[in-house]
């Protein structure tokens, strides 16, 4: 679970007078060294993992220099290698072996000629390691077998070069991986991809490779996405791609979104910036897709004729926040589209018995499009013969290549580990999808669709209205921040929002927080309620507010403070704090969620937490 980057080329020539930012760090206007480019790329990738970092640089005459350590990227001191021509770097989030200096990547072979960085899991590493018994291993990682296998391959055939070796070794690895390898005396980077993201950046004088385009977007926007099983050899300005030993062409695409959107601007934290970006993100999500007069949406998707009419079940597969977005949508698929809908935890998903694959639609919801658990679920659904669909934020991501159709949420890049704007855009996209399916099936009248579409159009303005009340939320956060635990409750569409509210708070504040269906409170959790455990309730349209308030009162009579997100039209005088939610019908619980995001942010901020990079968490979880 990691971020990897490789760079080969010369950025010195074209840098005078252009963007001066990157070299502000070293105080000079000179050309960027290989080490600097890689270090900068690692900083951009740090959201993918940040417990260890390392680089390997290859110099014309100085050979291979490796530096790595546990700790954040900024703590890594990249060695000065004046004759370096290329190199690779890695930022790690531990899976096999604790975050130690030895376990940090790059890993090398016995003699220190070959260095490898890797993202993913080599599932058969124990067997491979046993086979390499005469090699000296210095770490606990699965990755380390790769450089030793390369060493073997190179030793076995004196004519073999690094490209040959990677091609031979690649077939022996089981699991998912993206790897970048360099070798002393070889002026190339050789990369391979299977199941983990890897994208190439192309410019005239330089070639990049990384887990994510944000790593090198300041240098080039022209990218090539590799496919599973591809092995590529990178030289400055040129790339050769091979698939099963044959040379293949992979097209060049241009990334259009702005790199600056991935920077923090004037905010202290990406999370707060992204919370505040929600009105604009939602406008982008909805732009050009709503036909209010016709009572329909245009998501630019297509299904085989008759498929939607006959569909018997929609299964939503997702993890974490995306799963909660799925739970929100599931209720609307049933209500608006008249299709039985279930939400599955992706890691637990199996295409269960008693279903007809050709009458089942499996919808993956994943921000990154690289979530390993979700990809696994989609592969199981594909294997079972079901039709698959993805709702994602990331163009060109793995999931888009594994499913039959995709709707993009268009939220723009999200850097904070805690998902905020992408949740809002996921739900908005899924609401549109439910309308699309409902209309296609004839289950939803145009007039009913129209009223939901009007609510959707009101969503960006309603969210802005909530953001304007941030001071009120901050005060509430200050008042209750030292509570023992926080309970979030709601009914109907308020349940996923309660779950999401609790998840946000625990992710970034490290406080104990739980979300429940409000009716469940009395079936157990009420035993935990004291005067020191505030209850936060979703009391809006679509969330059966009056019934929920009864449960809140049960908690209040046990002394718990009660905070509620309340529809403009309602009033619950007994609440200790009442946050007003504008009238937007069935998307009101989604608007209420913005209050819960701000609450989590301010509790965590008051406590001085590492909001954008909570301990033990990474942005996109690319391991199962």
């Amino acid at each position: 679970m990691c971020g990897i980057i490789g760079y080969i080329g010369d950025l010195g020539a074209d840098r005078t007078g252009s963007d001066g930012e990157a070299h502000a760090a070293d105080g000079g206007g000179g050309p960027l060294s290989v080490g600097e480019v890689i270090h900068e790329g690692l900083r951009n990738l740090e959201y993918r993992g940040y417990d260890s970092a390392g680089v390997a640089l290859v110099g014309k005459s100085s050979g291979l220099t490796v530096a790595k350590r546990s700790g954040e990227v900024n703590g890594l001191s990249v060695p000065k290698v004046p004759d370096a021509t290329h190199g690779v770097g890695h930022t790690r989030w531990s899976t096999h072996g604790p975050p130690t200096d030895a376990n940090a990547h790059p890993h090398t072979d016995c003699v220190g000629d070959v260095a490898v960085v890797h993202n993913g899991i080599v599932e058969n590493y124990e067997a491979l390691k046993a086979e390499l018994s005469d090699h000296e291993f210095t770490s606990d990682t699965d990755t380390e077998v790769i450089p030793h296998l390369l060493e073997e391959a190179l030793a076995a055939d004196p004519d073999a070069d690094l490209l040959d070796a990677v091609q031979r070794v690649e077939g022996r690895l089981e699991g998912s991986y993206a790897i970048c390898a360099v070798r002393e005396g070889d002026d190339r980077i050789v990369v391979a991809r299977r199941g983990s993201p890897l994208v190439l950046g192309r410019s005239e004088d330089a070639t990049f490779v990384a887990s994510d385009v944000t790593a090198f977007l300041e240098h080039t926007r022209d990218v090539t996405y590799l496919e599973d099983g591809d092995v590529a050899s990178l030289e400055a300005g040129t790339v050769s791609v091979f698939h099963e030993g044959e040379s293949v062409e992979r097209g060049v695409e241009t990334v259009t979104w702005e790199a600056d959107a991935a920077e923090k601007g004037g905010y202290d934290h990406y999370m707060r910036k992204e919370i505040h970006e929600q009105p604009e993100a939602l406008r982008q999500t909805l732009a050009g897709r709503l036909d209010v007069e016709g009572g329909d949406v245009d998501l630019d998707i297509s299904f085989p004729p008759g498929f939607l009419a006959d569909v018997e079940e929609i299964q939503i597969v997702a993890c974490g926040t995306s799963n909660y977005a799925g739970r929100y949508a599931a209720q609307l698929f049933e209500e608006l589209a008249g299709v039985r809908t279930t939400v599955e935890t992706a890691s637990e998903y199996a295409f269960g018995a008693g279903r007809s694959p050709d009458r089942t639609l499996v919808v993956a919801v994943t921000q990154s499009g690289e979530t390993a658990d979700t990809l696994g679920a989609i592969r199981r659904a594909n294997a079972a013969g079901a039709r698959t669909f993805a709702v994602t934020n990331t163009l060109g991501s793995t999931v888009t290549r594994e499913v039959d159709g995709t709707a993009f949420i268009r939220a723009g890049p999200e850097i904070g580990v805690a998902a905020t704007k992408t949740f809002a855009s996921q739900v908005a996209t899924l609401v549109m999808l439910s309308i699309s399916v409902g209309r296609d099936r004839g289950a939803l009248a145009a007039a009913d669709a129209r009223s939901v579409l009007e609510d959707l159009r009101g969503l960006p303005g309603a969210v802005q209205q909530v953001l304007d009340e941030e001071v009120q939320v901050r005060e509430a956060a200050r008042e209750y921040q030292d509570s023992e635990a926080f309970f979030f409750v709601g009914r109907a569409l308020g349940v996923p929002v309660a779950l999401e509210g609790a998840l946000k708070l625990k992710e970034i504040s490290y406080d104990h927080a739980e979300g429940f269906a409000a009716g469940e409170l009395k079936h157990g959790p009420l035993a935990l309620v004291t005067s020191n455990t505030p209850v936060l309730a979703v009391l809006t349209d679509g969330a059966r507010a009056t019934e929920t308030m009864n449960n809140v009162t049960e908690a209040q009579t046990r002394g718990a403070p009660a905070l509620g997100c309340v529809s403009t039209s309602e009033e619950f005088g007994t609440l200790d704090v009442s946050f007003e939610v504008p009238k937007v019908g069935i998307v009101e619980p989604l608007v209420a969620n913005v209050y819960l995001q701000l609450f989590a942010y301010h509790v965590a901020n008051e406590k001085g937490r590492s909001i954008d990079k909570p301990r033990n968490l990474a942005k996109s979880v690319t391991v199962e």
Binding site: G266, Y267, A287, G461
Partner: protein, 393 residues
């Protein structure tokens, strides 16, 4: 940056209470004209003047500004933020930029639109080592501004809103050039109440050794002091910026759109709508069937109901004008604070998130606060406080 050390310090911390209710939720520099905040027009002029480093002094509702401008990449400038947590005057605001300014710099107001030339001229002058300096323009009613008396090219004095007769129509254009030495001068200025930068300039103009040079300016100088100025400034900018056109708005059948109209992306305009001249319609706004909108500023996310008439009016963010409601009127009397303004061309202002019921009438010059709920059929005149509920009967 190394070839251009001049920083622009833009003052954007103020609240702009005279523009209430529009400034209840956003600072004045973020009030949109021609679909872009006043401050964006200023930032663009600064960038066009060849300055690529901007220090934004922010305070009131600063999230709106930070959110919109980020680090400035969209305008090819580097934006840094400094906070003025209490608004203690323009001199105090300039002082906040001291930690991030290390060479000659230009100061501008974030809510006043000027041409790039005058900014470039100020930049040239400070690059030549001539500072302090200030731009001087002319106004029809100089007494509403800081009246500047000159001796040749030198400023003799600036008198803020003088009460007696004035001998000149020259006024302070609000664009200054300084070196970091001005920070000490600001600290040494003794002024009652707020610490205005003009007080420091007066001190510097009076000092024997220094003097303040004037840069004459007669270009665009658009000031939004009052709510109705928004309509004139909006009209002036739309007239100038034709060609910056809609990201394919969703237009219904038989829609009539005048030439001088600015429509943002993702706007929905239903059938038989008439959009008259000098109108700006913000992102994600909706104009329902048969509505008439003319000489108006419609903020993002607003909804103009079917058959409604909105003329000479401002409809703020996410406000909803009900079907067949009327926001239009004859020249009227508008009360702002203690001042009464007569014969103002302002059909009405509807604040953010306000809901005007179907068939309601907002009479000429009425100002409806944000979050107001007005029932169907009511007649609203004068000023309705924010959050009020207007019932029939």
């Amino acid at each position: 940056m190394s070839d251009n050390p001049v920083t622009a310090v833009i003052l954007a911390a103020g609240e702009g209470r005279r523009l209430e209710p529009l400034t209840n939720r956003r600072p004045k520099p973020m009030v949109p004209v021609a679909n872009r905040p006043l401050l964006e027009h200023v930032v663009e002029a600064v960038a066009a003047a060849g300055i690529d480093r901007i220090a934004l002094v922010v305070g009131y509702r600063q999230e709106r500004i930070r959110n919109h401008f980020g680090d400035g990449d969209d305008w090819d400038v580097t934006i840094e933020y400094v906070e003025q947590s209490t608004q203690l005057g323009t001199g105090h605001a300039v002082l906040q930029a001291e930690p991030i300014v290390d060479g000659p710099f230009v100061v501008l107001n974030g809510d006043r639109i000027v041409d790039a030339d005058v900014i470039a001229a100020t930049r040239e002058r400070v690059l030549d080592g001539t500072y302090p300096t200030m731009a001087v323009t002319t106004a029809e009613r100089p007494r509403e501004y800081g009246v500047v008396s000159l001796d040749g090219d030198s400023v003799v004095a600036i008198e803020e809103k003088p009460e007696g007769p004035v001998e000149t129509n020259r006024i302070n254009a609000g664009i200054y050039g300084f070196s970091p030495a001005v920070f000490d001068a600001i600290r040494q200025t003794h002024a009652p109440g707020e610490l205005a930068i003009t007080a420091t300039l007066n001190d510097l103009a009076a000092a024997d050794d220094q003097g303040v040079t004037a840069i004459p300016y007669d270009g665009r100088w658009l000031d939004v002091s009052n709510l109705w100025d928004l309509l004139t400034v909006n009209a002036a900018l739309i007239g100038n910026e034709m060609g910056a056109e809609p990201d394919s708005p969703d237009l219904g059948n038989s829609v009539a759109v005048a030439d001088d109209v600015a429509v943002a992306g993702n706007v929905r305009v239903a059938s038989n709508v008439t959009i008259g001249g000098s109108t700006a319609i913000g992102s994600n706004a909706t104009i329902e069937a048969n509505a008439v909108v003319e000489n108006a500023v419609i903020f993002p996310d607003a909804v103009i109901g079917a058959g409604a008439v909105v003329r000479d009016a401002v409809v703020a963010g996410n406000a909803r004008i009900g079907p067949n409601a009327t926001v239009a009127g004859e020249p009227a009397t508008v009360v702002v604070g203690d001042a009464v303004h007569h014969s103002v061309e302002l059909g009405g202002v509807v604040g953010d998130n306000a809901v005007i019921g179907g068939g309601a009438t907002v009479t000429g010059g009425a100002v409806v606060g944000d979050d107001v709920r007005a029932d169907a059929g009511v007649v609203i005149d004068g000023r309705v406080e924010s959050g009020a509920i207007v019932r029939r009967g």
